[in-house]
């Protein structure tokens, strides 16, 4: 959904036949290799993977009493001892505040600005793909990274939770208990939701990334945007702008933990993410078409 809105931008070169698709796939694969083999990004993924392990060990040593826990998803803490699945949910909640957005900031900030800074963007543009397709490929890579990062957090949370704690039927927020398979299906939906939320942030990142050659500036800017958005979201006096903040719907995945699933909450979130992808996708596109690539 999120990638489609970017790739739907009309292609300048018609692409009949399989050759351009193959070219594109090769380009996409090389972009994926670039992102997933870069030591900096691997370190980020390692930190993301380490967090659920660390949380699991801490909670294993110092097991909280059932029903205890702080505000927000802190309430999950009390349930982890009874069901390891909640470690996965708790890890997603904890990392979604700063660490996941940080990882997305680094990758998306690097995507265009990093190449420009290294002087490799010019070389890339010699690939017979066109700037629109270059941008689409870059963004598709970011989306894959968002899914990978969220999946790593959720997967390791689940794994560590299953090792340290019992795993069984899941108690939802509404007080209903669903079988483990149903609970895991909901967890999968949550992973998709959070990954799409991060992809929307990635769209802002790639748009900012087209304006500068300094990747670090984009990373810092995007992180500041995230933090300001989260602060404003907590100030009730500006409630009128809350639905428009990029981070407002990130934590709405609690709607998937109710019976019946509160789809309206989920759909509001997805609409917000789609809006951000479209707006910043088009901004990035407009900027890319114009920019003089000199380095």
């Amino acid at each position: 959904m999120s990638t489609a809105s970017v790739t739907e931008v009309p292609q300048s070169t018609p692409a009949p036949g399989a050759a351009p698709v193959r070219h594109w796939l090769r380009f996409f694969r090389s972009e994926l290799r670039n992102v997933f083999l870069r030591p900096r990004n691997l370190a980020l993924l390692a930190v993301l993977a380490g967090a659920p392990v660390f949380l699991g060990m801490v909670l294993r040593i110092n097991t909280p009493a059932p029903g205890s826990g702080g505000p927000g998803a802190g309430a999950f803490v009390g349930q982890i001892a009874g069901n390891g699945v909640f470690l996965s949910l708790f890890a997603i909640y904890v990392l979604l505040t700063v660490l996941l957005p940080l990882a997305v900031s680094v990758v998306s900030g690097d995507s265009v600005a990093g190449e420009a800074g290294l002087g490799t963007l010019r070389t890339l543009l010699t690939v017979p793909a066109g700037r629109t397709r270059l941008l689409a490929t870059k963004y598709a890579t970011i989306v894959v990274f968002c899914f990978a990062a969220t999946l790593i957090v959720a997967g390791l949370g689940l794994l560590v939770g299953a090792i340290f704690f019992p795993v069984g039927p899941v108690t939802l927020l509404s007080g209903d208990t669903v079988p483990l398979a149903d609970g895991l299906a909901r967890l999968a939906l949550i992973v998709c939701y959070v990954a799409l939320a991060m992809s929307a942030l990635g769209a802002i990142g790639i748009a900012l990334s087209t304006f500068t050659q300094h990747a670090i500036a984009v990373m810092a800017t995007l992180l500041v945007v995230v933090i300001i958005s989260e602060i404003l979201d907590a100030v009730s006096q500006v409630a009128a702008i809350h639905p428009y903040l990029p981070s407002h719907f990130w934590f709405s995945f609690d709607a998937l933990l109710r019976t019946p699933i509160a789809w309206s909450g989920v759909l509001h979130g997805l609409a917000s993410f789609a809006a951000y992808v479209v707006i910043f996708g088009v901004i990035a596109w407009a900027r890319m078409r114009r920019a003089d690539i000199t380095s």
Partner: protein, 415 residues
């Protein structure tokens, strides 16, 4: 590439601007309720009021009810997590709250109060009544009386009914009912147009007090064109264009909800408690949920017999100028020096009994109260957009949707 390459800078940036406008519009459309006016046959206020008298709760519904208040209070700190609970009095006077209702007759009801990563659920299935709180993972089993309950939420409940009403104060029905009770010579009524609420065509019924001492400017009720159920109630302060208080359906389906909504089995690992009815005393704030339980101006006649949320209250005045006087603890509490909001002053005000929860918050509001005096005595005054609160030196708390002058006049009458 070649064709696009010739696009001027201005043309190129039209696209992002357009995307912002379209996406913003779509987002606003999903976030804000649409306000298209449906075409309906004309009705006079009298016709509409008569039809509303006979309206009853539908046999089944699945609904989302949203309540919001902006009473112009000073910003309240979160005392002991009070504001974070959707059922607290503090939550009721500020912010927006959502309640979900599944209803299939008086013996099958589920009311859910979803909050971020939490939910409180009341489930009634025949004689089985459960209250679930996800925060503490606690399930409370209420031992219900075996006799059948009266039809809840009826616009005209049997007088003298003392059975707990499971939907008490939850739906716009109660709010509208209280407003309609005010209709009389002191009130102007009009039907200025139609509106769409929760996807249903509705008439707008405007009720406004004639007395200029009332702080209520007007009350707008959206009356469903088919069922004549009130779909929303908005209270506007005098001279204000945005509602100070509103409660209404944001979604409403009259289909019968699935039975799984009403049944409840405590999950493994939950704390299970057993409690005896009556429910309202045990479910915090059940009597003061989004609804007109607290609707300023609709000072309830029931308050006098200790049935309302404010036990032991006296009332003065009539209709829109009704003022409730509540003994608020130690005499002389408010007579102290004007060292505004000193800790000693605040702690001197001890409130107990059923009014405790609602009034406990008032201690926090002390800081915002101005010292006032007159021929009636002296005390402290809090004025918000929709009502005034006077705490006299005799320890009486006077509350009404009226100008302070009315409170002073009534304060002189308090024994």
């Amino acid at each position: 590439m070649r064709r696009r390459g010739r696009l001027g800078i201005r043309t190129r940036w039209v696209l992002p601007a357009g995307a912002v406008v379209i996406a913003g519009g779509v987002l606003a459309g999903t976030v804000l309720a649409s306000a298209a006016a449906p075409a309906l046959p004309r009705q006079t206020p009298a016709q509409l009021l008569a039809a509303m008298q006979h309206a009853t709760l539908p046999p089944a519904m699945t609904a989302t009810i949203s309540q919001s208040a902006n009473l112009g209070f000073p910003a309240l700190p979160d005392i002991g997590g009070m504001a974070s609970s959707p059922m607290s009095a503090a939550a009721l006077i500020s912010g927006t709250h959502t309640v979900q209702v599944w209803y299939a007759g008086p013996r099958h009801l589920r009311v859910a109060l979803p909050v971020s990563f939490g939910e409180t659920d009341l489930r009634v299935n025949g004689s089985q009544v459960w209250l679930w709180d996800s925060r503490g993972q606690t399930a409370t089993h209420f031992v219900a009386p075996s006799s059948a309950r009266p039809m809840p939420g009826q616009v005209n409940p049997a007088p003298g009914s003392r059975e707990p009403d499971p939907l008490a104060g939850l739906t716009p029905l109660q709010a509208a009912q209280r407003v309609l009770a005010m209709v009389g010579p002191t009130t102007k009524v009009a039907v200025p147009g139609t509106i769409e609420v929760a996807g249903r065509a509705a008439y707008q019924l405007v009720v406004a007090p004639r007395a200029s001492q009332s702080l209520v400017g007007r009350i707008v009720i959206a009356v469903d064109a088919k069922t004549h159920l009130p779909l929303s109630v908005q209270v506007f302060a005098r001279g204000s264009s945005s509602p100070a208080f509103q409660v209404g359906f944001t979604s409403l389906s009259l289909a019968r909800p699935a039975m799984s909504n009403f049944t409840f089995t405590p999950p493994a690992g939950a704390k299970v408690k057993t409690a005896k009815l009556p429910l309202p005393a045990l479910m915090p704030g059940a009597g003061s949920m989004p609804g007109a339980g607290r609707l300023p101006g609709a000072a309830r006649p029931g308050a006098r017999d200790g049935h309302g949320p404010l036990g032991g209250a006296q009332t003065f005045g009539k209709g829109w100028l009704t003022v409730a006087a509540i003994p608020a603890g130690l005499p002389g509490a408010a007579a102290g020096p004007t060292g505004s909001g000193s800790a000693a002053y605040q702690s001197s005000l001890k409130i107990t009994g059923p009014a405790g929860q609602g009034l406990g918050m008032l201690r926090v509001l002390m800081k915002a109260m101005k010292p006032v005096h007159g021929t009636w005595g002296s005390g402290r005054l809090l004025r918000t957009t929709l009502f005034s609160v006077l705490l006299t030196s005799k320890g009486q708390l006077l509350v009404g949707a009226v100008t302070p002058a009315v409170l002073y006049a009534d304060a002189a009458k308090v024994k």
